[in-house]
C-alpha cells in the first residue's frame, strides 16, 4: 500500500484536502448568526468527523460521500464508531481468553 502514501501521492491530493476544508468553512460562514456575528454552535467532534469522512471518500475511492452537505451518508460515521467498538470488545475478550500457561 506504500505507493498510495508517498509524499508525491499526498501532494497530488492537496486540492481535494483544500476543497473539503473550504466546504466546511463555507458551511460555518453560512450558518445562522447569533449576536455579534457569531455563528450557531458547532459540535466539532461531529463536524470534523464529517469533514474527514469526506476527505477519505475523495482520497480512497475518488468519490464524494457528502457527509458535510447532506444527511444521507451520515449513518456511516456512526457505523464506524460502533464497528470499532465491536471489534475491540472481541479483541479484549480474546486477550482474557488467551491466558499464559
Amino acid at each position: 500500500m506504500e505507493p498510495a502514501f508517498t509524499d508525491k501521492s499526498i501532494r497530488a491530493s492537496e486540492a481535494l484536502l483544500v476543497k473539503n476544508v473550504q466546504t466546511l468553512a463555507d458551511l460555518v460562514a453560512g450558518s445562522k448568526e447569533n449576536d455579534g456575528g457569531w455563528s450557531e454552535a458547532f459540535n466539532l467532534s461531529q463536524w470534523s468527523t464529517y469533514l474527514n469522512y469526506d476527505i477519505m471518500g475523495d482520497l480512497v475511492f475518488g468519490r464524494q460521500f457528502e457527509a458535510m452537505t447532506s444527511e444521507t451518508n451520515r449513518f456511516v460515521p456512526k457505523l464506524i464508531i460502533n464497528s470499532t467498538a465491536f471489534i475491540y470488545t472481541v479483541r479484549v475478550a480474546a486477550c482474557f481468553w488467551k491466558r499464559p500457561r
Partner: protein
C-alpha cells in the same frame, strides 16, 4: 446505554459497515479502467500484488482494506482535529501564537488559493500544536498488545512469563513526567528545541535539544517501527490544512447557552449505540460529578474502544474582517 457486549447493535453495525464498504468498493472497481481517472488509494490497491503469491488482492481482502482505510483514516484524524480546537480555545496564549504564524503565512502568499498544504505542512508552531494535541489525546489511547515470547521477559524488574499479553498505552506514556514535564498541560513549545535559556523558563518546560529529542522518542501517537501508521504524513497534511484554513478565516470561541449563559453542552447524540451513555465529553472536558479520573476539566475526554470515542467541544465561529 446499550452494553458493549458481543453481538447486538455493535455486531450488526460492524456487519453493516463492512457491507457498505464492500458496496462502494464494487462501484469503484467498475470505474477503474476509465481513462484519465485520478490515482486514488484504491487504484493502488486494485493493482497491488501479494509479494508472496504474486496474485492481486481478492474481493474479500479489498473489502476489508477499504473498511479499514475509512475507519483508520477518518475517525483518527477527526478526533485529533476536535481535540486541537478543545485545547486551543482553552489556551489563548497558544491560540494567539498559532494565529500569528498562520496569518503571516497566508498574507505572504497573497491569497488562500496559493497557500497550499505543502506550504502549511512546514509551519513549525502549527506542527507543535498538532503534536501536543496528539500527545494529550492519542486517537488510539490504549495499548497495542504484544505477547511475551518463549523464556519470558523482565520488564521494569518484574519477570513476565511467556505467553502473557503485555503493552504500554500511548495515553500513559504520553503523561510520563520523565519525558513530558508538566504532563497535563498543553504546551506546544515542548516540541520546539531552543538553546536560549530564557525561552525555557517562559513556558515552564525544558526545550533544550536533548529534552525535545527525548520527547520525540516517547511520542507513540502513530505507534513506531514496522507497525507505525502508514497514513502519518497524510494525517499531518489534513490537520495542518484544516486548522490553518479555519483559524485564518474565523475567530473561534466556546459556545454559551444564550439564555443561561452557561457553557453549552451537546447531549443530543450524533452517534448510536454504546457511546450514548458516555457523553460527558462536551466542550467542558471532565466534570466534577464523574469518577476521579474523569474530573480534569481541562482534559479532552477519551473513551477507549480502540479508536477512542469523544464528543464536543461546542464552539461558535465569527468571520474575520477582510477575509473570505
Amino acid at each position: 446505554m446499550s452494553l458493549p457486549i458481543i453481538g447486538g447493535d455493535l455486531a450488526r453495525d460492524d456487519r453493516k459497515f463492512f457491507e457498505y464498504a464492500s458496496g462502494i468498493l464494487k462501484e469503484r472497481a467498475a470505474t477503474e479502467e476509465r481513462p484519465g481517472s485520478r490515482k486514488d488509494i484504491m487504484h493502488h490497491l486494485l493493482h497491488a500484488e501479494d509479494p508472496m503469491t504474486g496474485k492481486p488482492f481478492s474481493p474479500e481482502q479489498l473489502g476489508i482494506e477499504s473498511s479499514l482505510l475509512i475507519a483508520a483514516g477518518a475517525d483518527t484524524t477527526s478526533l485529533t482535529l476536535a481535540a486541537a480546537f478543545f485545547y486551543l480555545v482553552r489556551n489563548p496564549r497558544v491560540m494567539q501564537t498559532l494565529k500569528r504564524e498562520i496569518q503571516s503565512t497566508f498574507s505572504s502568499s497573497g491569497s488562500t488559493d496559493l497557500t497550499t498544504p505543502s506550504k502549511l505542512i512546514s509551519l513549525p508552531y502549527l506542527r507543535a500544536v498538532v503534536d501536543e494535541t496528539l500527545r494529550l489525546a492519542p486517537p488510539v489511547p490504549s495499548l497495542l498488545p504484544r505477547q511475551v515470547l518463549k523464556g519470558g521477559i523482565t520488564i521494569d524488574g518484574n519477570l513476565i512469563p511467556e505467553g502473557t499479553i503485555v503493552g504500554a498505552p500511548a495515553y500513559a506514556i504520553h503523561r510520563n513526567p520523565e519525558y513530558f514535564p508538566e504532563p497535563e498541560k498543553f504546551i506546544p513549545e515542548r516540541w520546539l528545541a531552543t538553546e536560549d535559556p530564557s525561552d525555557t523558563t517562559s513556558t515552564g518546560v525544558p526545550r533544550k535539544p536533548q529534552s525535545v529529542s527525548l520527547a520525540r522518542q516517547a511520542f507513540v501517537a502513530f505507534s513506531q517501527g514496522s507497525r507505525g501508521c502508514i497514513g502519518r504524513q497524510l494525517a499531518y497534511y489534513e490537520l495542518h490544512t484544516a486548522l490553518a484554513h479555519l483559524l485564518y478565516r474565523f475567530e473561534i470561541r466556546l459556545a454559551r447557552d444564550p439564555l443561561t449563559q452557561k457553557w453549552m453542552a451537546d447531549s443530543t447524540s450524533w452517534k448510536t449505540g454504546s457511546a450514548d451513555g458516555l457523553v460527558v465529553n462536551t466542550h467542558e472536558g471532565g466534570k466534577m460529578d464523574c469518577r476521579e479520573e474523569r474530573q480534569r476539566e481541562d482534559e479532552f475526554q477519551l473513551f477507549d474502544q480502540f479508536l477512542a470515542d469523544r464528543n464536543g467541544p461546542m464552539v461558535e465561529f465569527r468571520q474575520r474582517e477582510g477575509v473570505c
